[in-house]
Subunit: 178 residues, 2 copies
DNA sequence: GAAATTTGTTTAACATGTTAAGTTATTCGA
DNA sequence: TCGAATAACTTAACATGTTAAACAAATTTC
């Protein structure tokens, strides 16, 4: 029966069980990391089903998308563009290569470097997914408002730049503990 | 060393007017999901070292933080508040319980439900981490601007609400393809 | 009131995030 | 030129994200 519905949408009085909240900081659900996480999840929730129908994860899609913009690209550069850590990228590339969605070779000038490019099969896949993705993106833009969307992206970029200079704090805080 | 820089360095191309319809979509580095991802990562990068020094991951911290706001809470509610999926929460609770940072019992009214609360050891840990976390948050607020931060959070919340009604599209799109 | 269904939670399986360590290739310095 | 740094990945190990399935307790049906 579950008399109390717990929809993620309503924000009337959740945050607890009407019990006594003791500690401060209970705004936590409004913290910046949580806001960003929820917003991103709300967006990605729209795309995941379509990607999944094509056998792609979000990260795999990011990689293929990035590859369509270039002829070939080095692994490190690809990691930067697709915003993936090296180890993640390494695993995903192994998988994408096994599925013949990408092609790899080693640079002759520097045998350490790997060069990646999308295959024709990968391109076909992109072309199959792109229409739906763009339609979803257009719908999101429409619902939220193109102007507001641009404004939001500006603010996000500014936030990034604000924190870029902020060298990670708390480094030598409790090193002696362990 | 390759003389040419990243292929996505130029960002002053067309945006709203040209409306690329068959090109590899837009810059992709400017896509909303990527913007949100990078912004969130920029924020979390500030917190992770401190949390790590205390043996906590971001998600573990979210759970303990949420628990400080209530006396006890049911697992499902906790998942909603801490924005974690059931399986993730289940694993983390197992770990936190083994470390005596939380306490669990089953509700007597409904034996399916589990009730969770923070332990005194968990509270101590929170109190040890909180000062640094709050200092970092304050620094972020200062750098980005308190007013802009509030505005950003408003927009993020609005984005969430805009997409809440948008039932996931692309469900039965290419099921027969593969 | 037993079977079917639903609900709350956990397990399982696979993919990615994250940090550390390992490999191989390149560069640098005495 | 030889060996110690460095650089570009890749592997390893552990934690979480994500979906599906399992499970047990509660609710609904007939």
């Amino acid at each position: 029966m579950s008399g109390k519905k717990s929809p993620n949408g309503s924000r009337s009085d959740q945050e607890g069980t009407t019990e006594a909240r003791r500690a401060p900081m209970r705004e936590f659900s409004r913290s910046l990391p949580m806001s960003l996480l929820r917003a991103r999840e709300a967006v990605m929730r729209q795309f995941r089903p379509s990607l999944r129908n094509h056998g792609l994860t979000e990260q795999q899609w990011r990689i293929l998308r990035a590859l369509t913009a270039v002829d070939t690209i080095e692994v490190t550069e690809l990691a930067r563009v697709a915003f993936l850590l090296g180890p993640s990228l390494s695993r995903i590339l192994r998988d994408l290569e096994a599925r013949d969605l990408i092609e790899r070779r080693t640079a002759k000038a520097d045998l350490r470097r790997g060069e990646v490019s999308i295959s024709s099969k990968g391109l076909k896949l992109i072309e199959a997914v792109a229409p739906t993705s763009e339609a979803i993106y257009a719908e999101i833009t429409h619902r939220f408002g193109a102007r507001k969307l641009a404004e939001l992206q500006d603010m996000l970029g500014e936030l990034e730049r604000s924190l870029a200079a902020m060298e990670v704090a708390g480094e030598g805080e409790a090193e002696a503990d362990e």
